[in-house]
Amino acid sequence: MIAEAGHYALVLALALALIQSFVPVIGARLRDPALMNVARSTALAQLLFVGASFIALVTLHVNSDFSVANVYENSHSMKPLIYKITGVWGNHEGSMLLWVSILALFGGLVAAFGNNLPLSLRAHVLSVQAWIASAFYLFILITSNPFLRIANPPIEGRDLNPVLQDIGLAVHPPMLYLGYVGFSISFSFAIAALIEGRIDAAWARWVRPWTLVAWIFLTLGIAMGSYWAYYELGWGGWWFWDPVENASLMPWLAGTALLHSALVMEKRNALKVWTILLSILTFSLSLLGTFLVRSGVITSVHAFANDPTRGVFILLILCLFIGGSLSLFAGRATSLKQGGLFAPISREGALVLNNLLLTVACAVVLFGTLYPLAMEVLADFKMSVGAPFYNLTFVPLFALLLLAVPFGPMLAWKRGDLLGVTQRLLAAGVAGLVVVAIVWAWTRGGSALAPLAIGLGVFVIAGVVTDIVERTGLFRLPFATALHRARGLPRSAWGTAFAHAGLGIALIGIVCETTWNSEYIATMKPNDVAQVAGYDLKLDGLLERQGPNYREMVAQFNVSRGGEALSVMTPSKRSFTTRGASTTEAALLTRGASQLYISLGDVTAEGAIAVRIYHKPFVLLIWWGPVLMAFGGMLSLSDRRLRVGAPKPARAKQRLQPAE
């Protein structure tokens, strides 16, 4: 009954989406407010029905109703409740349902909070949302229905892939989808602007908060996924340049570029055409990511060819939306009016450089992801493009970008003074060079580039500090005045500062971890002591434990440093009977920003166990950086000038000009 209700709710959502696809557009043509307002009600009703459908699937998983194929294949009655819930999106059908639920959520939010949008713009935006939604509802209902029943229900389910039975699954996919799918809003706004043939600075004001929300979630989602891979897969790696990871990185790079170009458009009414193009490209990359992950084309072109229904369907959606939007863009872009002028050396110029480097870096990642696929199809040989390729291409481009980051916010709009900015950044540059010298002198081993890269990270952070000091007049003016000025700085300025500092911090973490991480691999017997990076790790013993749906072997390590006992670490190896699979649960000990990491291998015949111990210096900075970036994004989002529906501040008079 619940399954049928959920299925029916999804069909109703499709019907609503179809109405929402056409009625408001016709309404906008006829200038009929009643027809245009249909979009608002249908968007909210759609959210309600998709939400009901999603809750139905969650209920089925929680009740372990194995007469439903999706539950049977991905659940087990003994599975802990939290994994019964998260298991809903740990499979293809469920994750697509989550995808459309989040799409409906964003549509509903625009409908609910978009009261200050011009009526026709809102109608168009919601219609475009509904086009996307209709395509994906059809995809789910035709090729990946999660509510299908099994004729002879089995007694027990096949359990969820053990690697996914982790708290990471609860957070990572929803976050990532909130980011991915969130970019659909800027896409819809771009298409709506092209349909209306009119675009101005106010457009950028409406789009930027939505882009920022999506970007914040995508940043956190990627960081979370990376940390999850780090502790769950048991080899201590946090980024593999795997096509699935690239699929989430590409929209992030394009989305970051979009955030910056929307800024130019909002402030200076320039780069309009480019911003529209970026909005289209960002969501296209999200769709491409969905296609790459969901069609199975990544693992093998042949697997894709063997079961093409799903892949071809998403490919069709992809071609329809990317092709359609780019043709619309090609047809209409020239009619958009040119915006404000600026000299190449200016804040706008710096943001153009930022956009150039980000999009080119994104193109490089796209190339690395698709090239092996193309070669397999065209030339029929297999190869892999891995870290060495990206180290030689992506890394230099990003290093250039980071070098430019401190200059951007300090240049003036319209016409900047590069020499003056360089003088003001002298202290930051010196700080970076001093750090290079110190790191060079103190560390042994590792690449000669490592100290330079750390110096670059420090330069970025010091540049941020310089900018804030300049703006507040700290050291120049009395402290009280500086404090007052700091309070008066727009929140978006603080947001920029935190986000840019986050970049520097992540860079330092990445360099430290990859250069100076120490690894110890050996077989250990009870009472053996391993010495890693000044820590003594004594294996106390091994014990067996029974979990809810697995058995685990736990090794207990006593960690001490210089004779002083610090902690006990208990890595384990779990075997899940239903799937016959085992997972390695690494143990982590955090010391400041560094971590000790133990994961277990096989037990040998003599009762010794293979052990892998890592010391990872400053590894946590890799994730603190993105968290800081997301925090910066949130600060910027809370800026009253950006807040949707905020009372009109006195000084921003041209805010929210009526569109017609």
């Binding site: 194929a69 999706n70 049977y72 294949e73 293809h92 059908e93 090729t143 990946s144 299908l148 029943r149 099994i150 004729a151 089995p154 096949r158 892939n161 048991g234 199975g296 693992t299 093998s300 042949h302 697997a303 063997n306 079961d307 229904t309 002028l341 000299a343 190449p344 110029g349 153009v352 450089l353 150039l356 080119v360 870096a361 490089v364 040989f381 297999k382 190869m383 892999s384 493009v385 891995g386 060495p388 390729f389 030689l392 291409t393 481009l397 691999i521 050996a522 077989t523 190896k573 799937r579 016959g580 699979a581 085992s582 997972t583 390695t584 291998g601 096989d602 040998t604 293979a610 892998r612």
Partner: protein, 178 residues
């Protein structure tokens, strides 16, 4: 500066960055791409010692030998050829004799493949897709490897026919654990 000059500056800058990226990519493509081979392909093509590649195939049953200090040797076979592999370290959770494996490394002077990575990134069918494709191409594909994969792929569409292949696949995976 006129509008035209400004535009030319921006276009010039864009072209410079694009050219830089193209140069970086072409340079990287020369030596950082790793090709995939099976033992048969290695035998046919006479791969140079020291040239890195990915080796895929099945772990020959009975060939796994553990030495001192986590050294292991095993043979990778694809039905018509075999290649000895030496590795030092912890084998991944899903490494088993008779099952698919992908190793990355290079041949040494004696024709032994020195692996520095043994990959276990494959799905619940215990068969990396690269290996499955290579085996299919050579006609060494056994249907039971694919049972679970095809069952899973078609599972959503045809639930009524689902029960039977699922049990065999489950039996298969449990048998694989031993």
């Amino acid at each position: 500066m006129t509008r035209k000059q400004r535009r030319m500056t921006i276009i010039g800058g864009s072209l410079a960055v694009l050219a830089l990226a193209a140069a970086l990519v072409l340079n990287a493509l020369r030596d950082s791409i790793v090709f995939f081979s099976t033992p048969t392909m290695v035998a046919e093509k006479h791969v140079q010692p020291g040239k890195r590649f990915r080796l895929g195939g099945l772990v020959q049953p009975g060939s796994l030998q553990r030495g001192d200090n986590l050294a292991v040797t095993f043979e990778v076979a694809d039905g018509s050829a075999k290649l000895p592999v030496a590795y030092k370290g912890i084998l991944p959770d899903l490494f088993r004799e008779g099952q698919g494996v992908v190793a990355e490394g290079a041949l040494d002077a004696n024709g032994v493949f020195k692996a520095d990575t043994v990959l276990a990134k494959h799905d619940e069918t215990y068969m990396p897709k690269d290996v499955a494709d290579a085996l299919k191409k050579q006609g060494h594909w056994k249907d039971d490897y694919g049972a679970q994969a095809s069952d899973k792929a078609s599972g959503g569409a045809k639930p009524s026919g689902d029960a039977k292949p699922a049990t065999t696949a489950q039996g298969n995976s449990q048998g694989a654990v031993r």
